[in-house]
């Protein structure tokens, strides 16, 4: 049995920020980071760029060995958490290794969610969450001629672009009526879809896959209208689910993710959770959500670390705001906060000349609730702050609607001074 005052499981964004926050407050307390991956820390978000060949797997590391040494953090790789005994404060790993902790952070992120499609288990398919997945997919893309991507979320859309650029005939199948649902309204989604269609990608929106069947080395997916699409490469990117099988033994409250309060504390004393594995307050209605985005993993990791180290400067989590920056075929899409209109909301939508750019601002009274834009840069960080702080825009509303970039910068600069 090994001992550590702080035990962090996982080695990605949430885990790293927590470790840094702990070290700011407590330079000496024993701190171990134990992770399933066998590599130095990297971000799942970089994987599409590994797939495309833009990034080398060795050059995207977020920390090196020296960082762990300098911060007196014991870094243990290749260990998968199997069970947690919250009462005894022990964690057991698949290898049999056991750790006793005072404070445990679960930052194990999420894993691809595989939809219950008949026959899917019998055909070869790819997912994208780890470096090994990325390298496999990169190598497969080089020879793929016909590809099917299930799910038009961020992961699927990145992969579809990479496949198209590599010369494959690509079909994207999405159950919802549009790409990137939740981040962009139909008009904006249409712009993105058009860009893909223009590059020869077939966009099957509002379609479900009813079955998958083996075909030679590849497979065929059967759509709900009966058509069969053959593929030598199938990518399943229909969403993610928190990685928390190790809590099956009970003792920690879970729903879709690990339920946490505004300090990222779980229901069990001595256990925190942050990032893609955690289900925390949503900003708009307070209902707890699994956010699944990098900036939230960073925020939550920091809060968890500060709270674990009893840092008095810790501030409560203000709630998750949906955030998204997405680059496709050299174009930029940005989405912060709510994009849908509705009761009590005021929507200002602008489409640029020739339909090349798009901007949508959602206000409620004098408060900003969300901005989304394509090929029309706004500072997502500033917009995020304006939403979170519920900054009163009454004096500058017309300016803000006309020029959100400059007005946002002006407002933030003034607030900081």
């Amino acid at each position: 049995m090994r001992n550590s005052k702080y035990l962090i499981v996982g080695s990605s964004h949430a885990a790293l920020e927590a470790a840094a926050a702990i070290r700011m407050q407590d330079p000496d307390g024993a701190l171990a980071m134990v992770t399933r991956d066998t590599r130095l820390p990297y971000s799942p978000t970089i994987l599409p760029y590994v797939v495309s060949g833009r990034s080398e797997p060795e050059r995207i590391l977020l920390r090196d060995e020296a960082w762990f040494a300098d911060n007196a953090i014991g870094f243990v790789r290749g260990e998968t958490l199997a069970a947690v005994d919250a009462a005894a404060r022990t964690a057991r790993f698949a290898s049999g290794a056991e750790w006793r902790y005072e404070k445990l952070l679960l930052a194990t992120g999420a894993a691809p969610a595989i939809p219950p499609v008949k026959g899917l288990a019998e055909v070869p398919f790819h997912v994208l969450r780890s470096m090994d997945d990325a390298v496999r997919l990169r190598d497969a893309i080089a020879t793929a001629r016909r590809a099917v991507v299930l799910g038009a979320g961020l992961i699927g859309m990145h992969a579809a672009e990479n496949l198209a650029k590599a010369g494959a005939a690509v079909t994207v199948v999405e159950m919802q009526a549009q790409v990137l649902p939740g981040y962009f309204e139909p008009d904006a989604a249409r712009m993105i879809e058009r860009a893909f269609a223009a590059k020869g990608v077939t966009m099957e929106m509002g379609r479900t896959v009813t079955a998958a069947e083996p075909r030679g080395q590849g497979c065929a997916v059967i759509l709900d209208d009966g058509r069969a699409i053959e593929a030598d490469l199938l990518l399943v990117s229909t969403g993610v689910k928190p990685e928390m099988a190790y809590l099956a033994g009970g003792g920690v409250d879970t729903d879709r993710g690990i339920l946490v309060d505004d300090r990222m504390r779980s229901s069990a004393p001595g256990i925190w959770a942050a990032g893609d594995v955690a289900q925390a307050r949503g900003f708009y209605d307070g209902a707890k959500v699994v956010a699944g985005i990098l900036p939230n993993a960073v925020e939550q990791g920091r809060i968890a670390g500060m709270d674990m180290a009893e840092d008095e400067g810790v501030k409560s989590f203000p709630g998750s705001v949906p955030l998204n920056t997405y680059t496709f075929f050299g174009q930029q899409a940005i989405s912060v906060g709510l994009s849908a209109g509705g009761e009590g909301r005021e929507v200002h939508e602008t489409v640029g000349e020739g339909g090349k750019s798009y901007r949508r601002i959602v206000l409620e009274g004098d408060r900003l609730r969300g901005v989304s834009a394509i090929n029309d840069f706004v500072d997502a960080g500033i917009m995020w702050q304006l939403v979170l702080r519920q900054v009163d825009l009454s004096a500058v509303k017309a300016d803000f609607v006309a020029r959100p970039l400059e007005t946002g910068r002006m407002l933030m600069s003034r607030i900081w001074r």
Partner: protein
């Protein structure tokens, strides 16, 4: 000891939106006048007011934390957030982290850009015609002296918010261990520097002369060390009473003889540790326990004597005024003073607003120090016999004297005529010094 870094400071009150900084940046970074290439952005806020969007080179950089590719890193040596083009994938997640619009995307540029401070020589600062941008390098002091030994004991018991403790710790760090310190009665020995409970408060020899004989004792000690062939600095840390009033006779004598020493007067305008009695350095109108406010008296009815000017009229090797709100200025003067004290008398007059005796919040000391200078209530200058008088931090557009007075409780009762009197005497004092400076500058040029 942690590291501190240089930074670009923006004075919004001086910016007129001319945009020269943006052009200079675009030129420096991309060799063009296209402002899309500028990494500094001045944004109009209406009514002739301008705001700024610029990378702050944060200590806890959210752009770095949000970067999935390792393209952004905080440079441990310079503090600048470095951006590596070779690693960046243009995902824009850094812009999600930044609440200052310090890292932004421009379609014309094709990737995110941010300020790199031009390797410590920012082009924007150099071209600003109004001093609205300033490159603050004071961090270097913290880095250089933070690692030197603090020669005062920990746990001195100065009042909360007192800048004298800050001052003496800085000073002795720089003067170094080959020093004998004299601390005549006043706040500095009162806070425990000369010892308490049979222990010393200082790691170099320190003694507690009478109020009257500080300078003459140091003069004698120096003679003895010289005779022994040892190069030891004689440092006086005296209050304004021990300098301007009771201690003046011996100080004047030592200055007349140009005795080798470094005499620091810490001026809090009175006898603050014995119950806030007025001294010769107490400013006009001040409430003190000996210049009360009542039906007849309205605080001190006479002007403070301008001691640094008096010292300038002696035969010193170096005379300067200083403020702890302008530490770089102080360090530069301290360096000259240490050098001068090897040959003769160096006199430093440092202003020390006193939260306890002057009645202001202990959190406000540095702000009060700064406002003293910005309102011209005190002026920062130095005098060297060969060169004459020179302002080291001229304030051409001073804040109103009311802005300074209203920060401080001891002026709360002031009648409009008293404020007018102070305004005039501040004006006269500055004009008087300016005549010296102008005459000395003319002499140097001629």
């Amino acid at each position: 000891m942690g590291k501190s870094f240089n930074t670009i400071q923006f004075h919004a009150d001086r910016c007129d939106g001319c945009g020269d900084c943006m052009t200079a940046c675009a030129q420096a970074k991309a060799g063009t006048d296209d402002l899309a290439q500028s990494r500094i952005r001045i944004v109009p806020a209406g009514g002739g007011v301008y705001e700024l969007a610029l990378c702050r080179q944060c200590g806890d950089p959210k752009c770095v934390m949000n970067c999935p590719s390792g393209a952004l890193t905080k440079n441990a040596a310079t503090g600048v957030i470095d951006w590596d083009w070779g690693k960046c994938v243009n995902c824009l997640l850094c812009t999600v982290g930044c609440a200052y619009a310090g890292i932004v995307f421009e379609a014309e540029v094709g990737h995110v850009t941010k300020c790199d401070t031009c390797d410590g020589d920012p082009a924007c600062v150099k071209v600003c015609p109004h001093g609205a941008l300033e490159y603050k390098t004071v961090a270097g002091i913290f880095n250089e002296y933070g690692d030197k030994e603090d020669l005062f004991a920990p746990g001195l018991s100065a009042c909360q918010g007192c800048n004298s403790e800050l001052l003496i710790r800085h000073t002795l760090r720089k003067v170094g261990p080959e020093t004998v310190v004299a601390a005549p009665p006043g706040c500095i020995p009162g806070m425990g520097t000369v010892g308490y409970n049979g222990k010393t408060g200082c790691k170099v020899p320190i003694f507690h002369p009478l109020l009257t004989n500080t300078a003459s004792m140091l003069a004698g000690l120096k003679k003895q060390y010289n005779r022994m062939g040892r190069d030891v600095t004689m440092l006086a840390l005296a209050g304004d009473g021990g300098t301007a009033d009771v201690g003046f006779q011996s100080l004047s004598g030592a200055a007349e003889r140009n005795d080798q020493m470094l005499f620091v007067c810490v001026d809090n305008e009175g006898y603050m540790n014995t119950g806030m009695q007025a001294s010769g350095a107490t400013s006009f109108g001040s409430w003190t326990s000996t210049t009360p406010v009542g039906s007849a008296m309205k605080g001190k009815s006479t002007e403070a004597k301008n001691l640094p000017v008096v010292m300038m009229m002696h035969n010193c090797s170096y005379v300067a005024t200083a403020s702890t709100a302008f530490l770089e200025d102080y360090y530069a003067k301290l360096e000259k003073a240490i050098e001068a004290s090897k040959h003769g008398m160096a006199y430093l007059h440092v202003y020390a607003p006193c939260p306890t005796g002057w009645r202001f919040s202990s959190a406000m000391t540095t702000q009060v120090c700064r406002m003293q200078v910005l309102s011209n209530f005190v002026t920062l200058w130095e005098f060297e016999p060969g060169r004459g008088l020179r302002f080291t931090h001229p304030v051409d557009r001073p804040r109103t004297i009311e802005e300074y007075l209203k920060l401080i409780g001891k002026y709360k009762h002031l009648e409009p005529e008293q404020v007018a009197h102070i305004r005039k005497s501040v004006h006269d004092k500055v004009a008087f010094l300016k005549r010296f400076a102008a005459a000395d500058a003319a002499a140097a040029a001629g």
